[in-house]
């Protein structure tokens, strides 16, 4: 089965508990469903191409830990996901 690309927008450090919990929650869901995923962690100031982040056939998690370093880039991703029907969850 082709891995599903899940982009996690998050600025918290990789060892911060909300960051680790977000990645872990995706892995729990993946394992339970037998649905392989590729998790791409993207700090908001490195969102260069919303067409990649919110690509059809992928999923987006807007992670916890605002204020984001680049909130306008986050809004652009949210808008793209909304308009294209890309599954998205924000926590």
């Amino acid at each position: 089965m082709r891995p599903l690309v899940v982009t996690v927008l998050i600025d918290l450090p990789p060892d911060e508990r909300h960051h680790t919990a977000t990645v872990a929650a995706l892995r729990h869901a993946s394992e339970h469903a037998g649905s392989p995923i590729e998790i791409r962690v993207v700090p908001t100031e490195t969102i260069y191409d919303i067409n990649v982040v919110a690509a059809p056939g992928s999923a987006v998690v807007v992670g916890p830990g605002s204020p984001y370093r680049d909130p306008e880039a986050v809004h652009a991703v949210v808008r793209a996901a909304r308009e294209r029907g890309v599954p998205l969850v924000g926590t």
Binding site: H18, R27, A59, G85
Partner: protein, 138 residues
């Protein structure tokens, strides 16, 4: 997500988030009661995607949120394709979703904090299921 909704759909082009300082029309503001490191009870909206994922109309969730939907613009969470899908005991909006989208959910709590191996949180399980379905249609 609410800021983007407010700017793009709800007719508030200068919608802002109070956490980023003064300016614009704040649609996200500091909660009167901070919810740092708390467990809250949320009531889910019958018939919503979120309630369907949980399979119940009430759940306990962990939260670290200090900000929420500004009281002055509460109405936008139930307009332009958005609907409120969870509220807490004080009536504060705790989750929203789009009714015109396969899976578009925002929570003002942190479902990932209660996910464990073997029992994934339904929001994350639902996200992957929706994305897998979306992937197969492309």
């Amino acid at each position: 997500m609410l800021v983007e909704h407010a700017r793009s759909l709800a007719g508030i082009p200068d919608a802002s988030h109070a956490e980023y300082g003064a300016g614009g029309t704040p649609v996200i503001s500091l909660l009167s009661c901070s919810l740092q490191d708390q467990t809250i009870s949320v009531d889910l909206t019958r018939g919503s995607c979120l309630a369907g994922l949980y399979g119940t109309l009430r759940a306990l969730e962990r939260t670290n949120c200090s900000y929420g939907l500004a009281p002055e613009v509460q109405h936008i969470a139930n307009e332009h394709g958005m609907q409120v899908t969870a509220t807490d005991a004080t009536g504060e909006v705790r989750a929203i979703e789009r009714i015109d989208h396969p899976f578009f959910i925002a929570t003002l709590y942190q479902p990932q904090l209660s996910s464990v191996r073997g029992a994934p949180h339904p929001v994350f399980a639902g996200l992957l299921a929706a994305a897998r379905s979306h992937l197969q249609s492309h």
